[in-house]
């Protein structure tokens, strides 16, 4: 199908950027109008992205050829199936997150709310820019913009701890960015182009040694945000940010931007054939497996609920990397759908952690005995999402595991099935005590009773939990992530 020229990708980016400006202009005095802009931005962005869905779903591509700053730096956008997958997911989840954010910051009387909503809107623009980037340099530009825009959110509390975490965040991500830029420059000198292509652009360029070195550079670069060990250090520290930030950005948008970039490099810069020829898949898969196991083990030791979820994110992100690295159709599909599945599950878990904090002020698991009795709805949703993480059938985590296991068989590496099983057991080990304590332990005597939070907070939790269930029960009806992932796999592996 011929690419369709359209300005819609740009509009999708601008929607939240313009609203970011409106948020600042409206300011603290008219809070309701300011919050309206946030909701308006998230809805309009979602509608614009969704309007492009049908054509992309049927194999079409939207294009917008933009401005060339200097040779090599061309700002262009291209909406293919993979970009649509990420953009659709991020813009859809921004809607519940916006609602939740409003409830969260108002309940806690957070300071600098205008800055918070402003930075959040800019982040979402960057994420859509990353998703729709037509070439590496456009992706890099929005990737750096995302780094800069997330920074005020990480240090939102302005405590010494937050500032320290912010410093760590910048140190990691800017270093990663520098590696990406290096890789991009080398790619440009080698091939003279940076545009993503379904079967890669590096074939027949450069020596194998050079291409391997280049791949390492890219993996280090994107691996920072994708939290591949040992580059994950920033993620647990960044949990000092307000919970909606941890939920959408540090479980969905930012970390997935890293994974997204990595997959772009693997399939759209290198291409499957070159990856196989150079034998780059296996080392990456091993690195991912180590991250999966070690991340889960580290999660076991955490008492702070958000830190635990952060280590769980580290571990789960590498499922996606593993899927991409195995280079077989089922594994790739499994990795890509996990972008969506993990997003729904992890955002639910973070929302619940935030709801507990808003209602009780508690952050540590050891203080949460019996909380399921006073906040039943919240903890039921938490349990569903946690069970999904473990990979129990009829919840979406199972679909991922199934495809990854089939993929590992296709690739002929049974060992990775073992990795997945061990990880599932570890997931049980760190999630079940929380559920058990919440529902079956008695609360401490004299402790205050707390109810479920208000509906601004509760509604997003319930919506995301429904997502976890629906994606698990009916994974292969039309228009689901799995179908889209299959289309992507056909394009890059077919």
């Amino acid at each position: 199908m011929e690419p369709v020229h359209s300005i819609r990708p740009v509009l999708a980016i601008l929607a939240s950027l313009i609203c970011a400006a409106l948020i600042v202009i409206t300011g603290e005095r008219r809070r309701n109008l300011r919050e309206f802009w946030t909701l308006f931005a998230s809805l309009s962005k979602y509608i614009i992205v969704a309007s492009m869905f049908p054509l992309v779903y049927h194999g079409g591509v939207y294009e917008f050829v933009g401005h060339t700053i200097v040779p090599g730096i061309e700002l262009s956008f291209r909406v293919d199936a993979f970009g649509m997958f990420f953009a659709f997911l991020a813009s859809m989840l921004w809607i519940p997150t916006s609602i939740y954010s409003i409830g969260y910051v108002r309940s806690l009387h957070e300071h600098a709310q205008t800055r918070y909503f402003f930075a959040f809107a800019v982040c979402m623009s960057s994420v859509i820019g990353i998703a729709f980037a037509a070439n590496l340099i456009t992706l890099y530009i929005f990737y750096e913009m995302l780094t800069m825009a997330t920074f005020p959110l990480v240090i939102h509390k302005e405590t010494p701890e937050a500032l320290c975490a912010g410093k760590k965040y910048l140190a990691y991500t800017l270093t990663g960015g520098a590696f990406i830029l290096l890789g991009t420059a080398i790619t440009y000198v080698l091939t003279g182009t940076l545009a993503f292509a379904d079967h890669g652009i590096l074939m027949d360029h450069g020596t194998p040694e050079m291409l391997r070195a280049l791949f390492v550079i890219f993996v280090i670069g994107f691996g920072v945000k994708a939290a591949i060990m040992p580059l994950h250090g920033w993620l647990p520290s960044a949990m000092v940010a307000p919970t909606p930030v941890s939920a959408l950005l540090h479980a969905v948008a930012v970390v997935k931007a890293g994974v997204f970039g990595l997959i772009r490099v693997v399939y759209y810069i290198y291409g499957v054939d070159l990856m196989r020829e150079l034998g780059l898949g296996l080392p990456l898969a091993v690195a991912a497996s180590i991250t999966i196991i070690v991340g889960s083990v580290l999660a076991l030791k955490q008492d702070n609920l958000k830190k635990l979820l952060a280590y769980s994110t580290v571990s789960q992100l590498s499922y996606i990397v593993l899927g991409a690295a195995l280079l077989t159709p089922s594994a790739t599909a499994g990795g890509i759908i996990h972008i969506a599945n993990q997003a729904f599950m992890k955002i639910t878990l973070f929302f619940c952690a935030g709801a507990i904090f808003v209602q009780t002020g508690k952050k540590n698991i050891s203080e949460m005995n019996g909380i399921g009795k006073t906040m039943p709805l919240t903890m039921i949703c938490f349990s569903i999402a946690a069970t999904g993480m473990i990979g129990v059938p009829l919840l979406c985590g199972f679909i991922t595991k199934w495809y990854l296991c089939v993929g590992a068989l296709e690739a002929g590496y049974l060992i990775f099935i073992g990795v997945l099983l061990v990880s599932a057991l570890l997931n049980v080990a760190y999630f079940f005590p929380i559920i058990y304590n919440a529902f079956f332990m008695e609360p401490e005597k004299g402790a205050k009773m707390h109810n479920d939070p208000n509906w601004w907070i509760l509604l997003p939790i319930v919506i995301c939990t429904l997502g976890v269930v629906i994606l698990g029960v009916t994974p292969s009806v039309p228009y689901t992530p799995l179908r889209l992932a299959t289309i992507i796999v056909q394009q890059v592996l077919g």
Partner: protein
């Protein structure tokens, strides 16, 4: 291959050089003769006309022509006095005269309560004339004379405060500059004896294989010592961190943003016009120069990290940034040179903006120490926003102009193919991270630091100071997005210097 270039005769370069030089006297007497305001506006007017004269040359040069203007011909004096504007000279002249104009406007607010303003303004225009002379002259010897003139006249700007520190910084500046300036004079004389000409209109005037490689190498580094001193290159940078912060802030902006570029410009002229890229790579000195530039980049950034005083930090940052330019020139590749020249242009905007912002902070609040910058984002929102834009551009974040020159320099280093030179890509990227280490704390302190409960008073400076700051910050953004505007001139410059 002989390349014939079309030459247009125009008096514009003569205006750009002679008008400020000749205005020195009128500016210094203007207050006595008419009024204080008249003197300020006269100085501003001179800088504006100089800028416009430079801008007026753009259409001719964009058409691929070169401007020449013989002021005094050979029939009158033994040495012809002539101006020649090629694309390299033009791009440096545009950035210099623009920043100079803004700094002069800024001075009206900043210097309002300072002493010895007659001296200050007259030496501002004198130094402008010298700077224009350096970049618009045809002859290497004339370039040297303007170069020394700039050293002497900027000395007066450095010691303006007349404090003990300023005087000792000035002394250091003067001794080192003049001392190494002698190397320059000596090497120019040797060049003249060997080549028989000092005109800057050819590529490589020195004959190949006339003397040994060692002798040529010595000559090359004698040149580099002379120009490198002004550029603040390692190991002759030692005067810079004292002298740049000692001057009043608008003069610091010019010293750091514009005048060190005269040194870098000289180095480019030596490599490409005096020696020629072929001869330079034949004797292999460009690798040594690139290594020195790499050390300059690292050293400047590393020392900047430990600085607490804002202006000193900015001065060390300049050392590091000038290393980018010299590195670009030393790579001898198309993109390397392009990135280097573009960085001359971009750094003028970024560092000019940063120094003017620092000046505004000092002028409005008296704070010099970065640790005291808490709440500054609330007190001076516009100033600190512009500071942030310029600083983030320094770090090399897209879509600001610092990113574009960094990108082109990276391509240039990879293009060089030579493994030693490719390593400089890593130097460039590491240095941009180091920039983040010393610029981000300032921004974080100003915007996110601990706050007191009371509402703060807004103290952004008056418009004559604010407009130059905003203009430079906008420049960082505009030339990041529309980099093609300056690059179209720079590409022509690279074409003449490297590909002919």
């Amino acid at each position: 291959m002989v390349h014939t270039e079309e030459i247009t005769i125009s008096a514009l370069p003569a205006i750009a050089v002679l008008l400020p030089l000749l205005s020195t006297g009128p500016v210094s007497f203007a207050r006595g003769a008419i009024s204080e305001g008249f003197r300020d506006y006269l100085a501003i007017g001179v800088s504006v006309i100089t800028f416009l004269a430079v801008m007026a040359m753009i259409p001719t040069l964009m058409g691929g022509k070169i401007i020449e203007y013989v002021l005094i011909s050979k029939e009158v004096t033994p040495v012809e006095i002539a101006f020649r504007v090629d694309h390299l000279g033009l791009i440096v002249a545009i950035a210099s005269s623009f920043v100079w104009m803004l700094a002069t406007i800024y001075s009206r607010g900043y210097m309002a309560h300072e002493h010895a303003k007659d001296r200050y303004y007259s030496f501002m225009v004198l130094t402008l004339g010298a700077m224009m002379g350096i970049v618009l002259t045809k002859n290497l010897f004339a370039l040297y004379i303007f170069f020394e003139m700039m050293t002497l006249s900027s000395y007066v700007l450095v010691i303006h405060e007349e404090t003990k520190e300023a005087l000792s910084a000035g002394k250091k500046y003067l001794f080192i500059s003049i001392g190494f300036g002698l190397f320059l004079l000596l090497s120019i004389l040797v060049t003249y004896m060997m080549a028989g000409t000092l005109n800057l209109d050819q590529i490589g005037i020195l004959p190949h294989e006339a003397v040994s490689k060692l002798a040529y190498g010595t000559l090359f580094f004698a040149f580099i010592a002379g120009f490198g001193t002004k550029a603040g290159m390692f190991p002759v940078h030692i005067w810079l961190p004292d002298a740049h912060p000692a001057a009043p802030s608008p003069a610091s902006a010019l010293l750091s943003g514009v005048m060190i570029k005269a040194g870098a410009y000289g180095i480019i002229r030596v490599i490409y016009n005096v020696f020629g890229p072929e001869l330079v790579s034949e004797i292999g000195v460009n690798t040594i120069l690139a290594i020195l530039a790499g050390i300059t980049i690292f050293l400047g950034s590393a020392v900047a990290i430990s600085q607490k005083e804002i202006k000193r930090m900015l001065a060390y940052s300049s050392i590091s940034q000038i290393g980018y330019v010299i590195l670009g020139a030393a790579l001898l590749t198309n993109d390397g040179l392009k990135g280097g020249i573009f960085h001359i242009f971009n750094h003028a905007f970024m560092k000019g903006c940063l120094f003017l912002c620092a000046g505004a902070v000092i002028h409005q609040t008296g704070l010099r120490n970065i640790d005291d910058f808490g709440e500054l984002g609330q007190k001076m929102p516009v100033t600190m926003l512009c500071f942030t834009i310029a600083a983030v551009s320094m770090i090399g974040v897209p879509p600001l102009n610092g990113f574009v020159s960094k990108w082109i320099l990276c391509l240039g280093a990879i293009e060089a193919g030579n493994i030693v030179l490719v390593l400089f890509v890593a130097v460039l990227l590491l240095s941009s991270l180091m920039n983040a280490i010393y610029y981000m704390p300032v921004i974080i302190k100003a915007f996110f630091g601990p706050k007191s409960k009371e509402p703060v008073e807004k103290v952004d400076p008056e418009l004559s100071m604010l407009i130059p700051i905003v203009a430079l910050a906008l420049g960082c953004l505009i030339f990041g997005i529309c980099a093609n505007l300056p690059l179209s001139i720079i590409e022509l410059a690279v074409h003449t210097l490297l590909l002919r």
